[in-house]
Symmetry: none
Subunit: 230 residues, 4 copies
Amino acid sequence: MDRQPAPAPEDHRTRVAAERRERMHSRLVESALLVFGQRGVDASIIDELISTAGVSRGTFYNYFRTNEDVLVAVSVAVSNEMLRVVDPFAHAEPDPAARIAVGMRLFLGLAEEFPALGAFLSRGGVRVLRGNGLINEYLPRDLIQGRDSGRFPIAETAPAFDMVVGSTLAALHRMQSGGLPDGHASTLASLALLALGLPADEAESIAQRPLLKLELAPDSLLARAGGGRK
Amino acid sequence: MDRQPAPAPEDHRTRVAAERRERMHSRLVESALLVFGQRGVDASIIDELISTAGVSRGTFYNYFRTNEDVLVAVSVAVSNEMLRVVDPFAHAEPDPAARIAVGMRLFLGLAEEFPALGAFLSRGGVRVLRGNGLINEYLPRDLIQGRDSGRFPIAETAPAFDMVVGSTLAALHRMQSGGLPDGHASTLASLALLALGLPADEAESIAQRPLLKLELAPDSLLARAGGGRK
Amino acid sequence: MDRQPAPAPEDHRTRVAAERRERMHSRLVESALLVFGQRGVDASIIDELISTAGVSRGTFYNYFRTNEDVLVAVSVAVSNEMLRVVDPFAHAEPDPAARIAVGMRLFLGLAEEFPALGAFLSRGGVRVLRGNGLINEYLPRDLIQGRDSGRFPIAETAPAFDMVVGSTLAALHRMQSGGLPDGHASTLASLALLALGLPADEAESIAQRPLLKLELAPDSLLARAGGGRK
Amino acid sequence: MDRQPAPAPEDHRTRVAAERRERMHSRLVESALLVFGQRGVDASIIDELISTAGVSRGTFYNYFRTNEDVLVAVSVAVSNEMLRVVDPFAHAEPDPAARIAVGMRLFLGLAEEFPALGAFLSRGGVRVLRGNGLINEYLPRDLIQGRDSGRFPIAETAPAFDMVVGSTLAALHRMQSGGLPDGHASTLASLALLALGLPADEAESIAQRPLLKLELAPDSLLARAGGGRK
DNA sequence: CATGAATGAGGGTTCATTCAT
DNA sequence: CATGAATGAACCCTCATTCAT
């Protein structure tokens, strides 16, 4: 019995260590989301980050090498979270116009419900959206589908893209400095659909549709770092 | 001669000194515009600024007290320059829809023609537009006039404002990363007018109108710091 | 079978464990020799050492407590290795002059043949030779014997010691930056014998004698870490 | 009179500033000599350097960028100082054998008289002598001249170079750990001349010649940082 | 007012060492 | 004993700001 080769001790230790690393990484990303939102994405963040996360200076450098590294990690995590939320809607809804309107409203809705997310996105601006699937994959696909199907009588998608994304970001900024009036997001979506060529009544009716309640996984980045729902 | 009663010699010296101050101030603002555009508005700027302007560290502090001071000064100067360009158009054009379309196109046109300006506005983002008369006075006025006159069938001006400003800034960012395709600005303006409620043909025809050539004073900030026209 | 009375199982396990410790210790010392040679004896070494040796950080601290500890261990090991090589020659040769000449040539010969050793001795300089038996026991003994027997007409051994050791180390440094020309070691030994008072022809003939080929134990530190013979 | 154009104010200010820079540079080099001698040339030195020199952290970086920068600056300064001392002797003495013996003794004499210099040279070892004119220009020249004139019956200068330099450095190390016995330097020089081929009596008589007292400029690096004469 | 050397707070980064698993 | 994540002291470096000239 004492000749038994110790049942894969490495495996166990390795797995435990990997899990610990994973948890610490998440903890740092969560804290970074908060701090970036409060201080801006260009701020020198490390001191505040480690004190927020309650870890040592050295630990930070075991996970990231630069400020920029952290920003990228947070951006990726945020993008993934948002996709997880939006994906079900996107698959259920066949109309690109509706998908765009819902996308704008969900984006703003998330930012409103999770102030940390809103602050981060607002502070980070375009830089933080570089790899955002919601914006860089879903939206272009919807615009193209809408144009090709004749629903959007537009020649180019680029101006439409700028219009949808720009409008939404402008509203996000407005939210950060005082909050959005009731119905702002819906009205904005309505304007966007108008611009894309829908008739006024249809634009309005699509943009006003009730939005299903968001469902987040309990271990979600937003749920944990979001500062709780508004 | 300089032994004469010296008719108010202080006046003369004072005036000369004031002019010198004025010139140095402009020189610093011009250099700052360039440097902010290249390095971003959050960068540590002073070293590069004074070497660009060719003055000493101490001189800088005779004119500004902090980094932020400089940013404000540049923003104000830029805003004034832009107003000086746009004002004639604004007074000549009675239709608020046309004024908005022209405003968007001129804004993007200036940024394109003067890369330093474009870079500065893009890098500075919203922060730099805080006191911009073009955006914060002219645009709201036009939107209200359009709504009140029934030309824009909208209830609120805020979403429309976000849409116009956001679209334009998104196009500005696009310009900074690769330039705008031909006709992008006009098409964008056309989308904006559509969103504001104009019929498609009218939106298009207004947005496509030829734009008068910009005229800059020879001593203009843009003419001097803009790196020359594109 | 393993249910047998197990004749002194502790003995066996203890012995196996001791052998494992011994092997790990050697592995660390070998790696340290390499790393000290490449990066210098003052470099921060532990990271590179453990990755070279392929062990974990914690394991290192099971064998050494500080950087300096490792340096001492390597120095001792190196000194012992060198003695093992030189001892046979020293016992076989009755003439102190010949022993000194052979010692200088063997020292340089080993450093040349085992680059890792050469780099280590050169980088470590005097610090690493503190406990070196070859230098601190054999050489003084030879000098005293030569002086007392009248072969070296010198009053003090200290200057002679400095001359022999210093010359050899200078040649070692030369070797590290470009290698030694043919015959350099022999000529140097000849100069040393001249300085010790031998007639020119005798000095030369002793210093030129052919050197027996070095023989290393196959498990020798040098054989394993030396990077193979040159 | 008040129209007078201020007689070259820049010249004056510029000159004063340059002198200030010069003085600060010297102050830093002096302090660095001390600190390198105490802590070794590989030590992290900046903190101690600035506190020794009594300047701020920032000032250091106005003059040097790295640890290595400082080491080079000190090495150059030391080399120049030593040359200034040795040069008169070198020019007055036609015999290369005598020049070499005097060189060795002066080198060791300086190191003994100015402990800071001795410590620095000893700690820095060969690295610090890279650009040393005394060693890299004067000595090779003397060896070649001696060989070509037949005074040194040697075929190669390289082993002789190693012997002279190595012996001297070994004595320097001995000095650092307990000081040199009386006559050590002279005896060492005598051994060196013997090795170079001089007859014993001549070697001895040259190496024993009284050495003229060293004269240092009062603003010399050694006089100021040397910790005073021994 | 212009100059530029000096300052030092603020932040960045490494690495020897500890310790729970 | 082996492992490797976590620690924090000790460095490194920049740059906004001051101030004597």
